[in-house]
């Protein structure tokens, strides 16, 4: 802009323009704040809307069965009798199994990546473990159905039943290989990348001075881990495990593909079973009566309650007891 042009401008006009601009800015600032707030409220509202709709869908079943639905073990759609006892049992067994097996493996991977692996190797293996989480659950379940289940049925289950048969959980193998055991192993594969990547980040946040101090005092590598790394991160690691548990509890697709749709509580891990989430995936598309649908919604309510509780608990433990590193995933 040339000097003469601005000088030629009437004094009032410049003020007017800036006044306009001021008004536009006031409007723009408010508008920007408004839509951002709206988006935030929408995100918060979504949680409540989802919760409301699920509970709303379950109302007929809640009216009919009340709280006894939670522990009743009959599930007979043809007779209009529903109880989630078997499903809760199956959910608890598969998730607990996945966590007990996958948790230690995942934590060990976290330790390997932070303390043992040379940088170049860790830079390759870390992302590869996370890729495990990127495989869609339907493909993992399909692999479980076609490859893993027959293999377990032919080789692993007879071996375990033979050697450890005196423990009731290793009973007689079934003919298909579709079992609680197979489902638990698939869930194990799914929880490992979640827990491993969170615990790796936690272990990285442990101050190196503490570790070096312990090493200087003559600790072996394991003693550094046992005495420094694990105690300073234990709350975060527990929170990570609870998040993994939440993932295992809610997995519907892969579990329904390999668990074999059983309808009884059995101690034998090699027998078929079912879980809350798997039951919804298996039966909802073919549910005929309103009550059947409502009962599946009731399963959803239980699942939602457990899932939200697990998340809140993990967040609370992570905040309450965390040392340095926050829990992120």
């Amino acid at each position: 802009m040339s000097a003469s042009a601005s000088a030629a401008r009437a004094p009032g006009r410049g003020a007017q323009v800036s006044d306009l601009r001021k008004r536009a800015d006031a409007f723009g600032d408010r508008g920007m704040f408004g839509i951002c707030l709206l988006a935030a409220l929408l995100a918060g509202g979504t949680i409540f809307l989802v919760g409301f709709q699920i509970v709303h869908g379950a109302v007929p079943a809640i009216d009919k069965f009340g709280f006894s639905f939670v522990y009743d073990t009959t599930w007979q759609p043809n007779f209009g009798r529903f109880g989630a006892g078997v499903l809760l049992f199956g959910t608890a067994v598969t998730s607990a199994f996945a966590l007990l097996l996958g948790g230690p493996i995942a934590i060990a991977i976290g330790l390997f990546l932070t303390l043992l692996a040379p940088k170049s190797i860790g830079a390759v293996i870390g992302p590869l473990v996370e890729l495990l989480a990127a495989i869609p659950s339907v493909i993992l379940g399909f692999w479980g159905l076609v490859v893993l289940a027959p293999y377990l049925q032919e080789h692993v289950e007879p071996f375990l039943a033979d050697k450890l048969g005196f423990v009731p959980i290793f009973g007689d193998p079934q003919t298909t290989g579709l079992s609680v055991f197979t489902a638990s192993l698939i869930l194990t594969i799914m929880v490992i990348p979640i827990i491993a990547s969170i615990s790796r980040d936690l272990f990285r946040s442990v101050p190196p001075e503490l570790q070096d101090g312990a090493a200087v005092l003559g600790s072996t590598r394991w003693e550094v881990v046992r005495g420094i790394v694990l105690p300073t991160t234990s709350s975060g690691v527990i929170a990570a495990c609870i998040l993994g548990l939440g993932r295992a509890l809610g997995e519907a697709i892969a579990v329904s593909q390999v668990i074999g749709a059983g309808s009884e509580i059995k101690a034998n891990l090699f027998a078929p079973g079912s879980t809350l989430a798997a039951q919804i995936a298996l039966q909802f598309p073919g549910a005929l009566t309103e009550l059947h649908k409502a009962a599946l919604f009731y399963c959803g309510v239980i699942l939602l309650a457990i899932g939200l509780a697990a998340n809140l608990l993990a967040g609370w433990i992570g905040r309450r007891f965390s040392y340095g590193g926050a829990v992120n995933w």
Partner: protein, 293 residues
């Protein structure tokens, strides 16, 4: 025999007794940690190898671009349409939520929103399927690709919001201060300074979220599973064919005749997901480095 109280100067310098035990324990645990990493890698390799070796045989031009039964074109197209629509819903909301956290909410608001996003992220996907079913499918009395997109959008939302927020926080404070010093209004700063410099990171976080949502099956079997596998369609207001529900159907029917096709589709899906998520990860790391340097 020498005096047991005096050290033997000729003894070899190897640990003994307690130290030896401690070092052995340490070595065993190191070995166990390495073995754990090997186990996880083995699982990844086994699954991917099965998908590639069994799926590669059926992949051909016809398989990807033609309608059923020669190919799975409609399913591939439907999956892409559903994922794109979900992203079109989730991305603006996610970025605005992230902007709200970084620009407007105080620390307290940020904590509340973080909790909300964490809870959304922790919702089991089958629950979102039930939600899409009562909220949209039952209301419209038909399955639609749109219902599936809404469920996938809820899955993507927390991922996009969290990713964008991390990138927005990396925008150098100097840029913001320079803009403030020139008397630029906040909203102009956001639109012309902050968003453009964070754009790369926002886009790549979104791609990561899409890669996660593209393989989700649970919401789709309730929202858009009764479709015509022969018909190419991009209309989200009818049931759209899609790859995940087809693989699920094949595995539920347990008919080995459909397995070859299902492996082929798995390979296509895994290929798309792995390529996009690996590419996005590399780009994200680059744009974060660029912002923070």
């Amino acid at each position: 025999m020498s005096d047991p109280l005096l050290p033997d100067p000729t003894a070899p310098l190897t640990p003994s007794g307690n130290l030896r035990r401690r070092q052995a324990v340490s070595r065993i645990t190191e070995g166990a940690a390495t073995a754990a990493a090997v186990v996880a890698l083995a699982a990844l390799v086994l699954v991917l190898w099965t998908v590639v070796s069994r799926g590669a045989g059926v992949i051909s031009f016809d398989f990807i671009f033609k309608g059923y039964p020669e190919g799975v074109g409609p399913m591939l197209l439907g999956t892409i349409v559903i994922a794109l629509l979900a992203t079109a819903i989730a991305m603006p909301i996610g970025v605005l939520v992230a902007l709200y956290v970084t620009e407007y909410s105080g620390a307290k608001g940020a904590r509340t929103l973080k909790l909300i996003l964490d809870l959304l992220n922790g919702l089991p996907s089958i629950i979102l399927g039930l939600f899409a079913f009562v909220f949209i499918v039952e209301a419209q009395e038909k399955q639609t690709g749109f219902a599936g997109s809404v469920a996938l959008a809820i899955i993507e939302l927390p991922l996009i919001a969290r990713g964008s927020q991390e990138v927005l926080q990396l925008v150098p404070i100097n840029l913001r201060e320079a803009s403030d010093a020139l008397g630029v209004a906040r909203w102009r700063t956001v639109l012309s300074v902050i968003l453009p410099s964070a754009l790369g990171g926002i886009v790549t976080s979104t791609i990561l979220a899409v890669a996660r949502a593209a393989g989700e099956t649970a919401p789709l079997i309730l929202a858009t599973s009764a479709f015509d596998p022969k018909k190419f369609s991009v209309n989200p207001f009818e049931a759209l064919p899609n790859i995940p529900t087809w693989i699920y159907k094949v595995s539920e029917e347990g008919n080995p005749n459909g397995y070859a096709e299902a492996w082929g589709m798995s390979l296509v899906l895994v290929f798309i997901i792995l390529v996009t998520s690996l590419g996005a990860r590399a780009l994200l790391a680059r744009s974060k480095r660029k912002l923070s340097s």
